[in-house]
Symmetry: none
Subunit: 125 residues, 4 copies
Amino acid sequence: MEFAENKNIFLQIGEWIMDEILKGNFKTGDRIPSVRELAEEMVVNRNTVNKTFTMLQEHGILENRRGMGYFVSHDANETIIAIRRKVFFTEQLPKIIAVSKQLKLTEKDLEPFLKQLKQNSDESK
Amino acid sequence: MEFAENKNIFLQIGEWIMDEILKGNFKTGDRIPSVRELAEEMVVNRNTVNKTFTMLQEHGILENRRGMGYFVSHDANETIIAIRRKVFFTEQLPKIIAVSKQLKLTEKDLEPFLKQLKQNSDESK
Amino acid sequence: MEFAENKNIFLQIGEWIMDEILKGNFKTGDRIPSVRELAEEMVVNRNTVNKTFTMLQEHGILENRRGMGYFVSHDANETIIAIRRKVFFTEQLPKIIAVSKQLKLTEKDLEPFLKQLKQNSDESK
Amino acid sequence: MEFAENKNIFLQIGEWIMDEILKGNFKTGDRIPSVRELAEEMVVNRNTVNKTFTMLQEHGILENRRGMGYFVSHDANETIIAIRRKVFFTEQLPKIIAVSKQLKLTEKDLEPFLKQLKQNSDESK
DNA sequence: GTGGTCTAGACCACG
DNA sequence: GTGGTCTAGACCACG
């Protein structure tokens, strides 16, 4: 896994795990790989993965069963989506609007994005 | 100036200066406030502002005249826009698309953004 | 290490590191001494060594692995030689030619240099 | 005049004046432009030019006549050549030898220089 | 242990 | 007045 320079690694791993859950690679109620395994696979210190797990547990996305490891909580998907919606509308969207104004981005510049949006709208009907 | 916790101060000052240039508050060819002045105004150390200025100089946005201070380079606007466009299209846009798909955002969810975009498109005609 | 008065310390340390790499004392892919170690050994501040390392990283000569230290990049030798050749041919050689003309230096004056040159030429065959 | 970043400006101006003297643009016994004139022409502070003149006077290259300005001393040419020979053989030549060895420069690399040398040798006969 | 950022403060060159 | 370098020392993230 490649990490961005400017963001804490434990947060980046957290994003990755949440993505895996949403994709269904880690399913609700399932055990996810151990701190040890993940740390080795990602070439990262175990403390870092530990920090990620603790954070996800605090958000109610993972659950810890003593001696057995970490499991995907039963409402993990809903929780993740709620968190991401909140972050999107309070942090990302305002930034995007500011940038699109500053860079004078047009509808043409953002075609791939608009296409995706249209597709989502159609599917939700 | 208020600084965000999760980003380096010297980078945040850099973003602020680039914003001021784009807004026309610091004009091409003009001298910008001295390291000392900016440091005092922003309640940070001189070395921190120094680091910002050096970085912006390396990017060709500021120019240094010995003993006289820093000046906005003649192609500062173009350089800044080029940098921000690149960041937007290679980093931010892919993320937005992924999120909009993941969260199944519809055109209705993004009305304020689409409105801004339409306005940009109209102005560019 | 002895430092010259008229040149910045962080640049002199940079020259020293590049010399060590060319001599093969720091080998491609190897870890070089830590900021702390080098600072102590050279009796300078950590920040100064930090500045040197950052500069060499920007030049692609060193690479940084989080929490592990700095490593000699795989094309460090080529990069250093390219930099030094450029400096030699664009800055030093023109000066030497001007001086040799101004001082009317003859081949005899420069025997030791010509001898070294001949030796290089012979070895390159 | 363009100044190098890494060398004191007053020294660079000194080099320029010595060059002008050797070229015969400033002749032995002649008055050279005033501090004021030179400072304006070079877009430099008067203090800087003053420092240059003081240094050249200490080396016996310029002479100061109260209220009249600075004049090229009668043995300026010899003095300059003596200084430059000394600098060349004790500082520059050792560096060139080291670099030519390090970069494995061959006679071919240095053709323009060798040609100049040969020409000097022929003229001195 | 590793490097990175930031502060406070000194000293220097140039203006 | 201007910026640049350097030190001493604190604090932080990652290992």
